[in-house]
Structure formats: C-alpha cells, structure tokens
C-alpha cells in the first residue's frame, strides 16, 4: 500500500530479521560481496544497522542553512523596504529602525529554516527514494527487512547467505 504506487518492480530477495545483530551481520556480508544498493527496513532508527550500512551524512543540513539565511534576509529586506516605500513617522522613531525588525527577521529565519528542512526530507527520502522495492508490514512493527536486488542467477547464493546470517524469512521477488 506504500506510496508511491505502481512502478516497475525491482527483482530481488526480501529477508526479514528478528535479531538486530543478525541483520547487521547480513548487511556487512552483503556489502562485502559487493552488493551496494541494499534497502534496509526498520521500525525505528537503529545505530547498529546504520554502522553496518555506513552512510554518508544527510545533505539536509545544507538546505536548512540556506532556508534559514533566506528567511533572515527576507525579514530584513521586507521590513526595511516596506518602511521606506511609504515613510510614515510614528512616535518620533526613525522610519526604518532595525531593533523591532530583528523580531520579524528572526521569525522568518526559523520559519523558512523549518519549512525548507521538511521540504528537503520530502525531496530526498520520499520523492527521490527508490521505487518498486518489495515491502512487508512487519517492518514497521518488530522486524528488520533487508532487500537485496539480485537477478535470477545469483539469487540462490544470496538467499543462502541471508538464511545463514539468521533471516527468519526470505522471499524471492520476481520482476
């Protein structure tokens, strides 16, 4: 039922693990065998798995930074420009007075920062995520899933290896 739906299904093997160390072992082994684009399903982030996969740091932070800075600039830009666009004197204060505008700039920094962060995640992990990978509801509950994209010829070997690593179940996914 997972979105996005209906896209070409990737052939491969889907293994379910109960034991986290077993899953980690399997991942290491597979990566050692040169299987790069594994997909690992967990119900919650798990550092053992992360270590095993050994990903680079997410680029989200950069987007957050840019978003934040944009907000800050927009905040000061808007307030100052609008003040001078129609200068109105209030309470003997300068037309464009920075201190009060800091508040606006700050709020916009936070706002755009946050929104861009979320946007970034949506972009990287959902829209740019792999399509057509087999999935099993158990993975959002209490099991760890490992999907190995593998053609018919090498499938047997991989399945063998997964089972030996301690997979409680291995499913072959045809194209």
């Amino acid at each position: 039922m997972a979105l996005p739906l209906r896209s070409r299904r990737v052939p491969g093997l889907l293994a379910s693990f109960v034991h986290v160390d077993a899953a980690a072992d399997a991942i290491r082994a597979l990566r050692a065998r040169g299987h790069r684009n594994l997909v690992v399903y967990t119900a919650a982030p798990n550092h053992e798995i992360e270590e095993a996969l050994d990903h680079s740091v997410s680029p989200v932070r950069l987007v957050t930074l840019i978003g934040g800075l944009t907000g800050c600039a927009a905040g000061f830009g808007m307030t100052l420009w609008m003040s001078y666009d129609w200068p109105v004197l209030v309470g003997g204060k300068p037309i464009g007075s920075i201190p009060p505008y800091v508040v606006i700039a700050f709020e916009l920094t936070i706002l755009l920062g946050a929104l861009s962060t979320v946007a970034a995640v949506a972009l990287f992990s959902v829209l740019m995520g792999k399509r057509g990978i087999a999935y099993d509801p158990k993975f959002s509950d209490d099991q760890i899933g490992v999907f190995v994209p593998a053609g018919g010829d090498q499938a047997g070997a991989v399945e063998q290896m997964l089972r030996s690593a301690g997979a409680v179940e291995v499913r072959r996914e045809a194209a």
Binding site: M1, A2, L3, P4, V18, H19, V20, D21, A22, V39, V40, Y41, T42, A43, A44, P45, N46, E48, E50, H55, V57, S58, V60, R61, T64, G68, T79, M82, S83, D85, W86, V90, S97, P100, V103, I104, F106, E107, L108, I110, L111, G113, A114, L115, T117, V118, A120, V121, A122, F124, S125, V126, G129, Y135, P137, F139, S140, D141, D142, G166
Partner: protein, 456 residues
C-alpha cells in the same frame, strides 16, 4: 516464528520498560479503536461549548465589541488575557518535544506527542483571539503585509505585527514538527489496520517505509527542527510579553517581562499537560507507558522549577516597583495587591507561587490526584496572572481622572468558554485519530532482540 522476549533494560534511573516493539505497536494502535460513549459525549460537549463561543463571536461582529464588558481605560481585558493564556499553554509542548529532545532526556518520549498536540491546538486557539478582539474583525488581514491597491504596508514597529509573525511562525513550525514526527507512526498504524482506514493512513503516511535512506534524512531533519523550535519557543512568549513591555503603561513597562513570561508560559503549559494526560492515560489504557514514578515525577520537577522562577519574578516586580521610586509603578503595584483587583492579584500569587512549592515533596509529585488538583490551580492561576497584568494595570495608569474598573460580561465568558470548547474538540479528535504516544521513539528506546544476547 516465535519472538524472543528481550531482557528488561534500564532507563538509567532503574525504571524499566518490559515491552517488545510488537507490544508498543499493539498498545498504541489499540488507542485508535472505536470510541467509547464517554468519549463521544465529551466530544459533543466541547463542540457545543465551541458553538456557543462562535455565536458570541457573531454577535460581536454584527453588533459591536460593546457587548463585552470593556470599561475604558481598560481597552484590553478577557480576550487578550485568554490569548496570552493559550499562547502560554503551547510552550510546554515545544519545550518537552524539542528542548528535552536536544537534551536527550529519555522520559519525554512517552509524553511528548500528547504535549505537542496540545501545543499545536493551543496556539491554533490563541491565533483566533487577535481576530476576535479587534473592533473590525472583518479586516483583520490588514495586519498582513500583502500588496494592495492602496500601496499601504503594516507598521513593523508595532508589537502586534510582531505577534502576527511570531504566532503564525510558531503555529506553522510546531504543526510541521508534529506532523513530521507523526509520519513513521502513521505508517506503523497503516500496516496494522485494514480496509478504508488502511487507505487513509496509507495516504497520510506519504510513502513512509522506514528504509535506511529515509531514516538517514529523517533523523537529521528531526534534529534540526528541534534545534529551530528551541529558540522559537523562547522567542514567541518573549514577543508576546513585549506587547506589554514596550508600552508605557505602569505595570507593563518592565524589563523582566520576557523571561518572566516564558517561565510562566512553560509553567502554565505543564499545568495543562498534567490536566490533559492524567485522565488521558487512563482513558487510552496506556498507564504502563506514562507512569507517576517516572514521567509525572519529572513533569512535576519541571513545574516546580518554573513555578519557583515565577515566584521570584513576582517578588522582583514588587521590588523593582519600590526600588525604582517611580510614583506610577508604585501606585500600580500597591493597587494590584490592595486595590479593587486585590482578589485577582492574590489568586495569582497563591495559585502560582505558593501551590507550586508543594512539589518539593516526592509524595506529592507522584500522587496523580494531588498533581491533577495542583494542575487545575495552575491553569486558574496563570489565567489570572494575565488578567491581573492586563486589567489591573490598565485600570490605574497615569491620569487618575480616567481610572475605572471593569465588569466582564456574558460576551467575555462566552468567548473564553468557547475557546476551551474549540481546543478540547480538536484535542479529542486527534487522540482518536492519530497515535497519541510516539511509537517509533519508544521503539528506539527498546533494544531489539539479539541472537548473541547482551549488549555489544
């Protein structure tokens, strides 16, 4: 395929969770089961109260604000009081979900979802008041900087515009934060339920599968959101406090207002959290997830801390008024204690400063009945704090000839009650629709079973 039960693992302070991931999912999904009669009645009740408030609002719009008990020079009264009250409520949520997240304090996991929900709806409620209280509600949007044929812009020097930005930012960010945290849990629910609900939760979970790649970005982003929400929560009530602090009114014109308000906000927020989750945990049968010895004890400590800060602030206000030698300040604070509004003044001091001191005792902190009663005191006290600051200060400022007292009318109470109805309505609806306890974060705390056993 039997699941091997994990050994009990510690939270560090000896409190244990003896659950498996499966239990967590099961228990939480159970909270979304068909509503009880009590729940339905409660929901209808709050809806009715909200409608009453709505009616009051319509009368204000059609006939004028005069129906409320405004009595010049008191140009702000119950509405702004309630506005500040609700904004304040919000703060505890963000504090617990964001700040405590950064501090990695483990006890937040079980409660943070409910507090976050409270935050979002509290701010949503608060956001209505700037519209309700103005004289020409139908043009409230003139406060927004949108291009118009008049070539006019709002005045960014006005604290009210700061409010517009602060409140709307706060609402947007905390709503985002909530929804963001919700996605994996909704996915978990999706995988448990069937039929049309599966479809709905499926759409709501926007394709979440918990793949390594998703988690990788997700965890990072969550951290940054928390990092952004933290200064926000401190700023929002500071900005609200500046509505008063930057003015010239004696009793408002104080430099300690920002920290004083923030502390008060968190204090009131936690008060509301207690009021909400003490009955909630029973109603949803998740007592074992939110326990007195652990979660409530910690909440109570936080209450004690902020309560004591307030105590200090109250004292400080009087000290400053006296020490400044400023005739106007002195009069204001003298009358706050012994003037026409003495009753409000003392209600606030007793409910906030004194009652919170009971929490020095662990017995009180872990006794839910006691906590619940105290939380009610806090809610009342904090509403009165704002009432005192706003109304009693306005009632006696510079020109004695203009002094007068306020007598609130049905229109004031109608809107006040309505706001509670509105808040309750949304909170109840949420509690039955989405996981009110964070599934994935609890799972994160529960080690997964290992083949080789033990830790590595």
């Amino acid at each position: 395929m039997a699941v091997v039960a994990p050994p009990p693992v510690g939270h560090g302070d000896g409190h244990a969770i003896t659950q498996t991931h499966a239990d967590v999912t099961r228990d939480v999904v159970a909270t979304l089961s068909a509503p009880s009669r009590g729940y339905v009645l409660l929901l209808l009740g709050s809806a009715a109260v909200f409608l009453m408030g709505l009616l009051t609002f319509l009368i204000l719009v059609i006939d004028g604000l005069g129906h409320a008990g405004y009595q010049p020079p008191i140009f702000w009264s119950v509405y702004i009081t309630t506005f500040v009250f609700w904004v304040g409520i919000g703060h505890a949520g963000t504090l617990i979900s964001a700040i405590l997240f950064l501090f990695r304090s483990p006890w937040r996991t079980a409660v943070y979802r409910s507090t976050e929900v409270m935050t979002v709806f509290a701010v949503m409620t608060a956001a209505l008041f700037p519209i309700i209280h103005i004289g020409r509600q139908w043009i409230f949007y003139w406060l927004l900087p949108y291009p118009n044929q008049r070539y006019l812009w709002p005045n960014f020097k006005s604290p009210l515009i700061w409010d517009v930005f602060a409140i709307s930012t706060y609402f947007t960010v905390s709503a985002t934060f909530l929804v963001f945290g919700l996605v994996p849990d909704v996915a978990a629910v999706r995988d448990k339920v069937t039929g049309w609900r599966k479809t709905v939760y499926g759409l709501a979970s926007v394709g979440w599968q918990g793949t390594d790649n998703q988690w990788r970005h997700y965890s990072r982003a969550y951290l940054y959101l928390a990092a952004l929400a933290t200064p926000l929560v401190l700023s929002v009530h500071s900005v609200v406090s500046w509505d008063f602090a930057v003015s010239i009114v004696p009793g408002w014109h104080g430099t300690i207002f920002a920290p004083y308000f923030v502390a008060g906000a968190i204090y009131s927020g936690i008060g509301m959290v207690l009021t909400l989750i003490i009955p909630l945990r029973r109603a949803l049968r998740i007592e074992h997830m939110i326990t007195p010895e652990y979660h409530f004890d910690n909440l109570a400590k936080l209450t004690l801390l902020t309560g004591s800060i307030l105590f200090y602030a109250y004292g400080m206000e009087y000290f400053v008024a006296w020490y400044s030698g400023n005739m106007f300040e002195q009069t204001t604070f003298y009358r706050r204690a012994f003037g026409p509004y003495w009753w409000a003044g003392w209600t606030m001091i007793i409910c906030n400063a004194f009652v919170s001191q009971l929490l020095w005792f662990r017995k009180v902190r872990t006794n839910l009945t006691a906590l619940f009663i105290i939380s009610i005191f806090i809610n009342v006290g904090m509403w009165f704090e704002r009432f005192v600051i706003i109304v009693s200060s306005l009632s006696n400022d510079y020109v004695p000839w203009a002094w007068d007292q306020l007598n609130p009318s049905w229109a004031d109470w109608g809107i006040l009650a309505g706001s509670f109805g509105w808040f309750g309505m949304w909170f109840l609806l949420f509690a039955k629709t989405f996981p009110i306890v964070a599934i994935q974060e609890i799972k994160e705390m529960i080690p997964m079973p290992r083949k080789r056993g033990g830790h590595h």
